[in-house]
């Protein structure tokens, strides 16, 4: 495995220098559910996890943005991760959470079905996403990990998921 390449390593974020994650043996990852599947985000790229906030719609913004909210004195865009990943829509319920990530200096909230756990993942076990994935969704993954339970965790690539402009 090429540890320098961010597409396969666990360097999920600009906030952590790309070399750092690659040097670590293991990383703490937040596991969350989306459409019955498991996804993961490295905990270093996280700001906070909140309940669904009041969201102000932003007309004429890209459709996967639900709108904006204010948190800690800043404006935080909220992304409907289902819509972003081309999944069917689903109304929020009491399990719905917003994971606020920092792909760079600007926080972004990701709406997920539910947050499952924080787990420690062996970085050596990260594999590239299957080549058969459609390009659109495949590029959103930085890699996949098979857990001991044989469940697959897809690690998100924030750079491609939340592009600037």
């Amino acid at each position: 495995m090429n540890r320098e390449a961010p597409s396969t390593g666990l360097a999920l974020t600009h906030a952590a220098p790309s070399g750092v994650a690659a040097r670590l043996e293991a990383a703490n990852v937040v596991l969350f559910a989306l459409e019955g599947r498991l996804y993961g985000l490295e905990i270093l790229s996280l700001d906070e996890i909140t309940m669904m906030p009041a969201i102000t719609f932003v007309p004429r913004s890209p459709s996967f943005y639900l709108g904006i909210t204010s948190a800690r004195g800043r404006i935080v865009p909220i992304v409907d991760l289902r819509r972003r990943m081309n999944m069917p829509p689903r109304s929020p319920d009491k399990m719905t959470r917003v994971i606020v990530v920092r792909p760079d200096e600007e926080p972004v909230g990701l709406v997920v079905d539910s947050v499952i756990a924080v787990t420690r993942l062996d970085l050596a076990a990260v594999e590239p996403p299957p080549a058969t994935l459609p390009a659109a969704t495949g590029s959103f993954l930085s890699g996949i990990v098979r857990m001991k339970s044989d469940e697959i965790v897809s690690l998100l690539n924030l750079t491609t998921l939340l592009p600037v402009e």
């Binding site: 913004s61 204010s70 004195g73 600037v164």
Partner: protein, 727 residues
Amino acid sequence: MGQDSRSEFLAEAEEMIDELSRNLAEIESAEEQNLIKPDLVNTIFRVMHSLKGLAGMLGYQIIANLSHELENLLDQTRLGRLAISRDLLDLLFDSLDVLNALVLNAAMPSDNPEPDLVPFRARIQALLAQKQEHDQKSVLAQLDLSNEVLDVLTEYEEHRLADNINRGAHIAMLNVTFSFDTFDEDLAAINEAFGEFGEVITTMPSLDSGPDNVIQFNLLVASRLDLGELESRFAAYRARLTSVQSRSSAAPPRAAVAAPAERPGEAADELGPLALELDEGPEMRAARPEVVARPGWEVAPPVRAAEVAEPASPAEAERRRADAAVGKTVRVDVERIDRLMNSVGELMLSKAELASLAARFRAERTNFSLADALHRASRQLERRLIQLQTDVLGVRMVPLDTVFSKLHRIVRQASRSTDKEVDLFVDGGATEIDKMIVEELLDPMVHIVRNAVDHGIETPNERIMEGKSPIGEVHIRAAQRGNSVEIAIEDDGKGIDPHKVWAKALEKGIVAGEIPASKKEVLALIFQPGFSTAAAVSELSGRGVGMDVVRNRIAELNGMIDIDTEVGRGTRLTLTLPSSLAIISVLLVRAAGEVFALPLTNIVENQRVLADRVRLVEGQEVLLLRDRTLPLVRLARVLCLNGDVPGVPRFVVIVRSAAQWLGLLVDELVGQREIVIKGLGRRLAPTPGVAGAAELGNFQTVLVLDIRAIVAEVTAGQDSAKEARRS
């Protein structure tokens, strides 16, 4: 050399050139009024010296060499070997442009050709060649000054002394006593006080020993007041301050009265307006009884600049404040201020949490006194946070003088190149505005002022024919109006003829038909992009760059521009700009169920929609508003919102961007608020028509609309529709 130190150099050098420019303009006006302001020449000399040092230190040899030559020239001037002539002033003003160009080239290397310094250097040398050594010694010999004193005078001081004698000033030695703790301030205060009626030529510590905690000085002074009055001026303090041992002395042991004979009887006639100043004496004394009450040296300096040297006028006071503001500044990255603002915002939220805890605690009614104390503490925290927020916002504000001070040069250049005589008057330069706006404001202001001189003001001959004073006037007046700043630029020139404007617009195919009755509507054409091309306006304006550029810049700043003119009387342009980019007043409106904030600086008025004021023009709704007809659009439709209720919405908000008007139809007017506007971040920033967002409290966030973008979008659509119809 790194980019950082380059831009640092640029910023510092530009500040110095600005300071030179301000002082030169003052010297010029002082010369015109035949006043002597030796300290101004000295200041320019000192600033030029600093510029030389800065450029030399950073290795900009060309700039260092040139400023060295100029410094030399200024040195000769301040020593009186060169008169302050028209040629000298012209050269110095031109030097600012040369230095500016050199500094810009040095800081941002570009393809711009280096200015040719050879002819410029020749002018410096030609002026230097005119210098005259004059015999100051013989003039000074008339004075009854001991060699001891004469020997310590510097060349500059000798010159000032001789110059004052030649101008008929009274020379005296003033002995004063100060506390050790405050003597530097006291000396400065006396120096400034003298600026009103003379000058302090030199300051020598006195050898006479007094009590331990005091220090005595002998001041060699020159004064337009005769000695009796000078003494009475300071005697007043002595009379009041006997306990502080200050004494003025017209004839101290080692000093004597100057050669010009004293003629006390004629003094009042000679003084003219100065007699008025003296009349203020008793009032000043009466106003300061507390001085008498204070015993000892520690608390009562005998003279305070602010009290003695009452500024001549409010404008003068304002200028001084502005000067002070310019003098002690720190450059801060705006991003740092934004971070501070964000921190304050987060503190506000923490405070809200604390307040809600306090409220819950009170509601529990278990421990009243503690709950009350907590409540009070949280209220106090709130007040202090609001103060903090105000202060942080204030950091972004700078006086408009930072822009206005540069305009003197522009007027000078423009009037010289057109052989006109124009005086620039500035009022309200202390009005503060967001730093970001100031930086963007210079270009449009330069443009407007240049236009006023080039095309508004007539030549002296034309003006005389018109029965006007041969000297034209351009007035700039700035004032704060709520959260906006209004800047009016007015000339007393020939004005703009609406009929000529209409004729040009017809010729350009911008309009068709009869001239509208409304003058404003016709004048608005001046801001049309198609109108102000060089060919179109050669008669009216003659400039290649048109008013549409100015309009665009003002629109980018979220401002508005108005024009008013009267043929033969002059033209006035009024700019209305937000005073702060961080905190703004907004009108909250509802459209298609969503609440939006519209910046108040862009809003002309709100109205209930009356069906009989709405007309259809080729399928487009327009609103009849007094003497205007403006396009109407539904806000919900502009923003592509679903849920737009059919039928005519109930309210119209009339907005403007620069000179373009538009009626926005909304369902409801929610209210007016002050908000701290925040960016949407890089991901959502490209959203058209949205300027940012703000928190309203209660976790409610509202979008702040970008009226400029909306107006541009909507009217661009109409323009292209017009195009389509035409073709």
